[in-house]
Structure formats: structure tokens, C-alpha cells
Symmetry: C2
Subunit: 259 residues, 2 copies
């Protein structure tokens, strides 16, 4: 396996104050743009915000001031972007029709494939990375802070820095057969679900979390502590509001009530 892929772990503790040289940042960006992109339209933008800049400080609360965000050498915000391509079209007398869900998804695909190339290249050069899922929670604030124009929506952020030793271990994963299906999707029998999660549920880490959270099982830590329904609905509505405000949801031909 490609060693960088094999050895990936998310790094959340960085050497503070250590700057990433500009030539290295350029190399990560060059790797990012080699990724596949829908129709070679490059429907994404990458905003690089280095530690120490005022904007970096403004972004931290958007990521709940988690150490991976506050301690990083830079934050790379990957955005779906139909604005640049649409502007080119308009300058050529071509009428762009890209303000809709399909194109948000196209842009998100582009942004995410580029982000993974960027992250792997960072790791291959001795840097550590952490994806910040908070990007889609607080997207409206990020739009404002990064001054994203209509047509541009943040999808993910990669925090990059020099890892503080020691590196964390590899993250455990479900057995491969949990996520892989052959020919068609085969649904899971209850006992298969039990088997797939057995190792994780029996781990020392889970025992520690249960004691810490005073809950009887790991699943309830996810549903009652980490990702509650109230939060999920709130952030879903917030992200939809951002898609609408940024003009990437301008298409509803029919509402559910009309069906």
C-alpha cells in the first residue's frame, strides 16, 4: 500500500509556532490540483489561512477552538466554487446555469478529492493533518470571515502542522466487510451488526469513554453526547440556509407538499 495512505492518522497536537515554509505549501497545493475534477472545470477554491494572521484567530471559534484548529500552522478551507467558472462563462456571453444542488455536489466532489491529495502530500512531507468536520456546522460564519462570494460554500477544512511527538496510533476501523458490498448492497442481519462492532465495543478505549460519560454503551455516547438529534437538525438547517444564501439551491421545481 502507498506508505502515506497506510500510515495516516489524524494529528490534533501540533508544534506551536512552527511555520510551514511557503515552498512546501505550494507543493501541497500543486498536489491538490492534480486530483480529478468534474469536466475539468475545477469547481473549487482553497483558502489558505496561516497561523498568526488575524483571520486565523477569527476562524478558531468556527471550529469550536479545538486544539487541532488553534494549534495548526495553517488552515486550508476547501470550498465548492461555481462562482469563478460562472464569471468566466458570463464574460464569454455564455449563460451559466450552475446555481443548483447538482453543481454544489459537483463542487463538493472536486473540493474533497483535492483535499485528500493535499492531505496525503502534507503527510508525505512530515506534516500532520486533521480534517475539521466543524466546517459544515458553522459555514455561515466561515463564509463571512473568508468573504466567500455567492456561488462559494465551505465543505471541509484541513488543519496542517508539524506533529508534536509522540504521534497517535492508527485509528481502529470496522472490519473491511462492514463497508464493502459485492455486486449489490446486502443488508445487515442484527447479529452481523453485533459482530462488526464487537472489537470496538470491547476495547479499553470504549471502557474509558463509558466510565467518563456514565452511559451503558458506546452508541449512546454518539447519540446523546457527540451528535444529538437537536444539533443535527440545527446544523442541517444552518447548512441549507448557507446553500440558499450562497445561491446553490436555486432550483426547486417542486416542493414536497406538491408531490
Amino acid at each position: 500500500m502507498i506508505p502515506t495512505i497506510r500510515d495516516h492518522r489524524s494529528v490534533r497536537n501540533f508544534e506551536t509556532g512552527r511555520t510551514i515554509p511557503e515552498e512546501l505549501v505550494e507543493r501541497l497545493l500543486e498536489a491538490a490540483v492534480r486530483a480529478s475534477t468534474v469536466g475539468n472545470m475545477q469547481l473549487y477554491s482553497i483558502v489558505i489561512t496561516p497561523a498568526g494572521s488575524p483571520v486565523f484567530g477569527e476562524l478558531s471559534p468556527c471550529h469550536f477552538n479545538q486544539p487541532a484548529a488553534t494549534g495548526a500552522g495553517l488552515l486550508a478551507t476547501f470550498c465548492a466554487d461555481v462562482h469563478r467558472f460562472s464569471q468566466w462563462c458570463r464574460q464569454r456571453g455564455a449563460e451559466p446555469g450552475y446555481d443548483n444542488l447538482q453543481w454544489f455536489v459537483n463542487g463538493a466532489i472536486d473540493a474533497l478529492l483535492a483535499s485528500q491529495n493535499f492531505s496525503l502530500e502534507a503527510e508525505a512531507n512530515g506534516l500532520g493533518i486533521c480534517y475539521l468536520g466543524t466546517t459544515t456546522y458553522n459555514a455561515a460564519d466561515i463564509v463571512r470571515i473568508l468573504r466567500l462570494p455567492r456561488g462559494v460554500v465551505p465543505v471541509t477544512t484541513v488543519a496542517v502542522g508539524y506533529p508534536a511527538e509522540p504521534l497517535p496510533g492508527l485509528t481502529d476501523r470496522l472490519p473491511l466487510e462492514a463497508v464493502v458490498h459485492r455486486e449489490t448492497y446486502r443488508d445487515y442481519a442484527p447479529e452481523e451488526i453485533d459482530r462488526l462492532w464487537a472489537a470496538r465495543e470491547a476495547s479499553d478505549e470504549t471502557a474509558r469513554l463509558l466510565a467518563e460519560n456514565d452511559l451503558p454503551n458506546l452508541a449512546r455516547i454518539f447519540t446523546e453526547r457527540r451528535y444529538t438529534t437537536v444539533d443535527n437538525l440545527h446544523f442541517s438547517q444552518a447548512y441549507l440556509d448557507v446553500l440558499r444564501a450562497q445561491g446553490l439551491f436555486e432550483f426547486e421545481l417542486k416542493e414536497p407538499s406538491e408531490k
Copy 2:
């Protein structure tokens, strides 16, 4: 730069009839699951459909029978999947609240990062790949053919096979500064747009396309031939219908009319 990243090009012509050994498929899948995933929840599934299976033939029209799809050794359909995780929660008496946009986006992020690892590992082992953007156009058919349960939505497909020689050249990209912004987004002046697209617009490939399409510029090939507004709106509505039918858009707290 990681050589596999540097040398990526989409391959659309494969050696027909050459099977990808199962051990190699396993290696690509092992690479896929090493990618970062939101909260280590692995909110995605990968459906591997090998050439020659009846389902492979059914999938081809979903991808408009393009040679990259019909000639591939296998199709790997990457899906956002909150079904498996929700089922685990329910079996543990935990109430999952994952049937909403935020979780579709989380699952899509997971699926796309995994797909890029999968693709790079394929290329590192002498295979060629092509992402099939058609996945989000004809998602309803793919849901039916792959028997995706509620909670699972296809996001992208990677066609994989042994490249027929000769390999295509690297795809041209816009200059790096087109997609990169420093600190915050800086908008594009009209003359900057002209400059960024100048090389592509002056290329032999563009001259060939203009002659072939009888249109005055490249932008109009995109808006009038490749991605028309009518199609974009149609496929946006179709994908939203799939999100709703698969239970990943069950959250609308307010409709635009109420704002």
C-alpha cells in the same frame, strides 16, 4: 510530490476482458478505509461490481454507456451511508438522528475521501481509473439496481481497469493561483479571468472543439453542449428526490416561503 498523485490522469480506455485479481481489489479497499472519516463513524459503503456480472450491465446505462464504464474491469460505487451506523444505534437502544442534510454531507465527505485513497492505490498498482460524474445524475436508477436501502445514497463511482496503451497525457489545469486564495477569498477582476483561461482558450484542443461544435468560444461549449441549464435543473431535482426518498433530507424546519 507523491509520484502517483503527480502522474494521475483519467483513463477511459481499458484492456477489455482483463480481470482485476481479488487480492488487488482487497488492497484498494484496505487503502480506502484508511482515509479520515467523520468521528470515525465510517458513514459510507463501497459497492464493487465486477465486469461480466449482470448488475454491471445494468449499471452501464446509468453512466450513459460511456466507454470508461462499459470497458472497466470493475465499478466501485461510493455511497454516503447512515443506515449501517443507525442500525447499530437502534440495536443498542440509542436513538439515531441522522436522516438529515448534515449527515448526508458527512457521509459524502467520508465516501469521497475513501474514493480518492482507493483511486490512488489503484494507480500505484498499474491500474487506471476514471471518476464517473454521471453517478449523481442517475442516482435513482443506481439506488434501484444496487438495492440501496433507505439511508444510503450514491455519491460517485470509480471505474477501474488496466489501461489500454497509450496512456493519455496529463490534463491541463488552470494556473495554481486560479484556485488558491490567501487568508481570505479575493474576487476576480475581469482581466484576471481572461488571463487565467488564456492558455486553455488558445490551445489546439479548444480549436478542435470549436470547429466540431460550431460555437465561437469554449465557455459556450460548456453551457450549450455539455452542461445545459435545463439538464442541471433536471438533475438537481432528481438528486434532491433521491435524498428525500432515501431519507436524508428529513429535517426542513422552515421552508423558504416562511422566511
